[in-house]
Amino acid sequence: MHTTGTTVAHGQSVTGAAHDHAGHEEKSFLWTYVFSTDHKVIGIQYSITGLLFLLFGFCLMMLMRWQLAYPGSPIPFIGGLLGDARAPGGTMLPEFYNELGAMHGTIMVFLGVVPLAVGGFGNFVLPLQIGAPDMAFPRINMMSYWAYFMGGVIMLASFFVPGGAAQSGWTSYSPLAELAGSGQTMWLLGMVMLITSSLLGAINFLTTTVQLRAKGLTFWRFPFFVWAQFVTSFLLLLAFPPLEAAGVLQLMDRLAGTSFFLPSGLVVSGQVLQVSGGGNPLLWQHLFWFLAHPEVYVLILPAMGIVAEIIANNTRKPLFGYRTMVYSLIFLGFMSFVVWAHHMFMTGMGTVMSAFFQTTTMIISIPSVAILTSLIISLWGGSIRFTTPMLFALAFLPMFGIGGLTGLPLGLNVTDIPLHDTYYVIAHFHYVVAPGTIFALFAGIYYWFPKATGRMMSETLGRIHFAGSFIFMNMVFMPMFLVGLAGVSRRLYDGGASYDFAQPVLHWNRVSSYGAWALGLSQIPFIINFLWSMRHGRKVDQNPWQATTLEWAAPSPPPHGNFTTPPEVYRGPYEYSVPGRATDFYPQSERAEA
């Protein structure tokens, strides 16, 4: 919006500022760690904030899981603390359940995974991997973080406004969302902040990638992770504005009394709604999904990038079909803009529209298959090291496989009839985002932690963390397929208990809940590991994994400006086990001996 308009111009003044500050590095703590313009500090700020939001979103869900396991029975311990407005006598109200659901979705997607995968890993790793001293617009980069931070604060604050936080699902369908309380307004304002943040970030990433590449680093020498972030940024740049538009319209409906999404003649609880009418509820859905489908690829592409890096490094060989993977990636990004209405199959589509979106949806699954297949085949002929990052990266493959494959029955209009809005959908996308993306993010943390801190994380704790997470993720989500196939709807306060047809599968809800809580416990080793290793982890040199990509040519942790001497690139990203060389890795920046 207009703020971004000004910031773009300011950003350039900033690069100036950064350049003025060039010589003297003795800045105050505040300017070094809080309002820093260094991409590494910002990346770490993004990561920590993102992780904390993930944890928070998870806690919301662990609460909900109690209600789903034991509908209507008071929540032990915590229940009393929630207050009578939310959980009188410790038993959560339907309103509160809906709040938790909507906020879990919003927080996990917009405040957890995207900031961690794009804001965190993108900011920290991408400039290093392309051999840049920093992002193209450091001050804009800082603003992007603080816009995100503001958005997060607004979202959290919304829990405490009268009527509580948004409770119409993360999809905020009108009219429901417009009849909802002031929490929804907060949600919209928060989203505007988050969108602004993502747009600033995307502009920065794209400019940085094309402009600040090291000498010799052609696009075909990019690590797959850089490609992934590049495509992701385009998705953010072009898909988010329509949601911003939708948000503005819904704000107008809520604050100025317009009825963009309200048709004429609504009667709410017996009272005729006093609005001009003439709006269209489907308009919101179209604008929302026009963002939200590309958004789900924003959630997965960086994850694929991370996994590719780690697999190449731990198989000690080049990736199979690197170019195919890149072409698939670009095609995937492109297609993700023309499948949005597969989320709206049940809104009353005619045959043309339905056929169109089914077809695009089937087409878009092919590049994913191609990427996954390449990653799997890359294992063949490797000399595989089962490090903690590798374990998570390997687990990503079948987990994403399950999530992706179950997308297919949802993508066919007729098979979507029994499955739409059931727990099958919940299971589908959690397999891609939770044991999929979250595992990839864990892998990335274990992999780049030494670069960020100069210390290794504990392998032992890492393996414990992996085992627990792997087992319990599946224990949470596998049963949901059964519940969904039995026809039980999502977003049910009692998990389906009030329906006869749901009775045979209700016990699975309890299994999922136990899984979720156990999953929570198995995160403890990770948190300990994470905090402990920062101070006491084994010290390492700049290239502990013996990797080939540029970030490992910089000191760990890299100084302000990253590289001691501007790196130059001589070869592709994954030159492992090149025949006839002493070492089994051939760094991109190593000059070929004559």
């Binding site: 111009a9 950003g11 350039q12 950064a18 920093d134 502009i203 402009q211």
Partner: protein, 196 residues
């Protein structure tokens, strides 16, 4: 530590960072107004009745405003040209004119709005007015934003001209790109809302 290609252009792309940045930003703006435009079409084609803009809105005023914005676009580009020709004095003049014209635009809009409110015509009155106020309002925010940037370059920001003229010129060009875009949006809003 210096960010490369802030001022100079990179050989293979032939561009500096700011130029790419501003165009990417404008790309996102295209999508923003594109979505709003799509919403307008959807609501209008779905409506049982839809007033011709002229029957409610004040076409002469809007015509005047169109002329004002176009003129401001010219002064803007002239401001950049003056810098390119190394005439800082003229730049001040043209840039000042651009900002003033922006002010004129806002004033006229102010009178248009108050006139509507005076006749009990509010966003909530009907879908046409809803979309009218939303689109013009959002556009107005862009005008204000553009004016703010220009004011900065007219005033304090101009210091840069002494230390790094090329850079200053590029940045004026970029803020110009934004200003022209705002003008471009209006060129479409005008017929869509007032004439059809």
């Amino acid at each position: 530590m210096e960010i490369p290609y802030t001022v100079s252009v990179r050989q293979d792309t032939g561009l500096n960072n700011g130029k790419i940045g501003i165009w990417l930003f404008l790309a996102s703006e295209v999508m923003l107004f594109g979505a709003l435009f799509a919403s307008y079409v959807l609501l209008r084609t779905g409506a049982t009745t839809w007033p011709r803009g002229a029957s409610i809105l004040n076409v002469p005023m809007a015509t005047f405003n169109t002329i004002v914005l176009i003129t401001s676009s010219v002064t803007m580009v002239m401001a950049w040209a003056s810098l390119a020709r190394n005439q800082f004095g003229r730049f001040r003049l043209y840039m000042g004119a651009t900002i003033l014209l922006g002010g004129v635009f806002l004033t006229v809009k102010y009178f248009e709005y108050t006139a509507k409110f005076h006749h009990e015509l509010f966003p909530r009155t009907n879908t046409f007015l809803a979309i009218y106020f939303t689109l013009t309002g959002l556009h107005m925010l862009h005008v204000i934003g553009g004016m703010a940037v220009n004011a900065w370059f007219w005033g304090p920001g101009a210091k840069l001209w002494k230390t790094n003229p090329t850079w200053f010129t590029n940045r004026v060009e970029n803020s110009g790109l934004f200003w022209h875009f705002v003008d471009l949006v209006w060129i479409f809003l005008f017929p869509i809302l007032y004439l059809l």
